[in-house]
Symmetry: C2
Subunit: 454 residues, 2 copies
């Protein structure tokens, strides 16, 4: 809906920019959401983009700038005057600024840091010092802090005075003289309370928080679990140093899901956007698993070599190899994906492992029976040999049942030994099951076919 | 961190419940977050659970109840008196109530609806009438509505009077006499404004909204894009009927990611929790793809049969089949996953298809060269035949390059014809590439091996 709107409006913007009707253009942009302005500007030529950008007011321009992706930010910075860059950086939210610095080359960051006034420079440096992907790295120090002995009326006055600069004013944190976190309350509580009440009376001492060095995923889990709009971040001495707000949590969750998708496909994770990675970097990200799997495939090769006698005695056995290994792999990827995801969202717990295995055993046997029967029918029709069809049918039943259990066991085992189950990629399961499937198939073939045909 | 805390505190709770020290237990529970109480109660025996639950005050008990998963909710409802169930249902947030009704059996829902007073029953029925997974189905009608001609002071007074019942008071919607949505403002704007200003002056007319029948994913995208705490939901006449808040959006995003994971693994989506699905239902969810893939594997079988002459002339060709088909499948799942995810998060657009294909062609060729060389070496070492090793090396190079392109082309094509690219499961790609890989391999083998050895 919104995207269509952008397409309709774009020619008008281009016209205003071409005819230098800047007054009209400024008014038009003022009414728009920052996210929509980003969409609009992205459709403009570089020079039009810079001109339109300069028409935005200070706050809006820093908001819009923060929403561009890193390659566009870098491009824009190059075209701005030093004064403009300085204003932009000062206006930006501290957490957006950290993100910008994280993605720019080190020498550019150094130059930009020098443009900041001492206080902002110190703050930026402190935030950049927290480990990558930690709560400290993504937090903003712009929160509302109240004191216990304030009255509700005083607190409200304090919020009125300082609120404009704060990223979120709806959750207020209560700290003591040493900045230690003592409680939390909401603007809702403050608004609904009696003006003479003390903040102490309406605060909740039981604050959930994360530490600066905790992983951002931990912050996301806390926000999600407690349905809160922001989570406070404390240092080692329990002093409040920042907050992570729910809009950043939405981005983190998306990022983490993308990471899990990549792991599942056997791609080493990088956080860059699709096209930002060079060909060589992308190759490096993907080659490790592929090489491991090619080498692992030599197991299948050795197995087949070991059964060469069975194979030469009846070449038709080879025809069904792809069906056998494929079905094992497919069943295994299904069950592993279901378990990995259920572990990630907390639907199942590792301690229920026996329950999970029993359950998947039953599912696997039923799937195996159905698929085994279908495979039997296909083989009977195509080879016209009952012995061959029986071999294929029984093998498929066994491969699917085993594949289903292997698919769940490996992620569960990874979790038990404290490794991320998402590292169990579908290709790994498939390659393991190739080898297992071949042994099952040839052992059954040796017993049924070699005996009956010789 | 929080989970450990639950384990430490659980014995104490059990002791308080055993010794019937309800006063102390009630005080203890009062200070805890609802999400923590759910963790605690989940660790108790059924009778202890019901006893502890009854100690919670009205608001807390409805919050806690809403956080249990559906099987536990059903269990609890059975143990409560009719009066208790009624109070609980009345206190629950309307969106939580809809979710509860969605997951209970129809006959139970009918009984529960009868317990509600007329106004709540009407509301519940209306919400249940919106399509599954639509914005209307998950919204809550408890928002703050203001009028344009109100002053800031009047608005604040209105929020003070009605705010306690509202799910979120930080975003206020401005409606006219016919309930049509006219603008939006935040409690921040109201708090920071002059008390004599009119709401009209501080509202933004440019409201983003969704329609009741829009998919919940649309609501999630809007909240994520505009970094807002709630999105208003309007009916066909543009009348405001509810809002979807950011905490629900967090759950939706997790749900949607789970759906995509399942699709990728070729599992038909169901929204139930892991263990809530019966064996037969789970089999039905998974069997469709598995059957399709077994039948698709007959293509590989036919191909192999067609090349039986090549195969019998040199049985060693069969040894490398799993490596060849496996590598094609693995490469294809990697590239398809990367593209499907990048399309889902909006990092790449379908109109860039030629750019994506060109890029993946380059990546695929580099991957193919590396893997082809490794496969050549492995084959040379194990078969001691240069012709065989050359066949394997060239085939692997070709299969990987082709696999990489096929892996991106299919999801892109799905998107182009307006189908969900996530339906392109890794198993589907793998099965397609099995057939392609075999043809490539045998064509190369026929040219190199059959010519050189005969």
């Amino acid at each position: 809906m919104e995207l269509k709107w952008v397409n309709i409006i774009l020619p008008e913007i281009k016209e205003l920019s071409r005819t230098k009707n800047f007054k009209r253009l400024r008014e038009f942009l003022r009414e728009r959401h920052s996210a929509d302005i980003v969409d609009l500007l992205s459709g403009l030529e570089p020079t039009e983009k810079v001109v339109s950008f300069r028409l935005l007011d200070k706050i809006k321009s820093s908001e819009v700038f923060a929403l561009f992706d890193s390659s566009e930010q870098e491009e824009l910075l190059k075209q701005f005057t030093e004064q403009h860059v300085r204003t932009l950086l000062i206006e930006m939210e501290p957490d957006d600024r950290t993100q910008l610095f994280d993605e720019l080359p080190a020498d550019v960051v150094e130059k930009l840091l020098k443009l900041l006034p001492p206080a902002e420079r110190k703050e930026a440096n402190e935030l950049l010092n927290y480990p990558q992907n930690s709560a400290g790295r993504i937090m903003t120090p712009e929160y509302v802090a109240l004191k216990m002995h304030m009255t509700v009326a005083q607190a409200l006055e304090h919020i009125r005075k300082t609120g404009l600069d704060r990223e979120i004013i709806y959750i207020c944190y209560i700290v003591d003289e040493t900045k230690k976190l003592r409680g939390v309350t909401s603007l809702k509580n403050i608004i609904l309370a009696n003006p003479d009440q003390f903040i102490k009376e309406i605060m909740n001492e039981n604050v959930v928080y994360v530490h600066t060095t905790d992983d951002q995923e931990e912050a996301a889990k806390v926000v999600q679990k407690y349905d809160i709009l922001a989570v406070p971040v404390v240092d080692n001495e329990n002093r409040l140093v920042g907050i992570v707000t729910v809009d950043d949590i939405l981005d983190i969750l998306e990022e983490e899901a993308t990471e899990d998708f990549k792991k599942m496909a056997g791609v080493q994770t990088i956080e860059d956007e699709y096209f930002r990675v060079g060909v060589s970097k992308r190759v490096i990200n993907r080659i490790v698993w592929l090489v491991v799997l090619v080498i692992a495939a030599t197991i299948s090769q050795t197995i087949l070599k070991g059964y060469s006698e069975v194979l030469t005695s009846m070449i038709a056995i080879a025809y069904f190899i792809p069906m056998l290994t494929g079905s094992g792999g497919n069943t295994g990827s299904q069950s592993s994906t279901l378990v990995i995801r259920a572990l990630a969202t907390g639907e199942i717990k590792t301690k229920e492992w026996w329950k999970i295995l029993l359950w998947e055993l039953r599912v696997g046997v039923v799937l195996g029976l159905i698929l085994g029967f279908i495979a039997f029918s296909i083989a009977a029709l195509s080879t016209k040999q009952i012995a061959m069809a029986t071999t294929v049918g029984i093998s498929l039943f066994s491969v699917v049942s085993v594949g289903n259990i292997v698919g769940v066991s490996i992620p569960l085992f990874f979790r038990l030994i404290k490794l991320d189950p998402a590292f169990v990629s579908a290709p790994l399961i498939a390659t393991l099951l190739d080898a297992t499937g071949l042994i099952i198939y040839f052992e059954i073939a040796r017993r049924i076919l070699v005996t009956t045909t010789s």
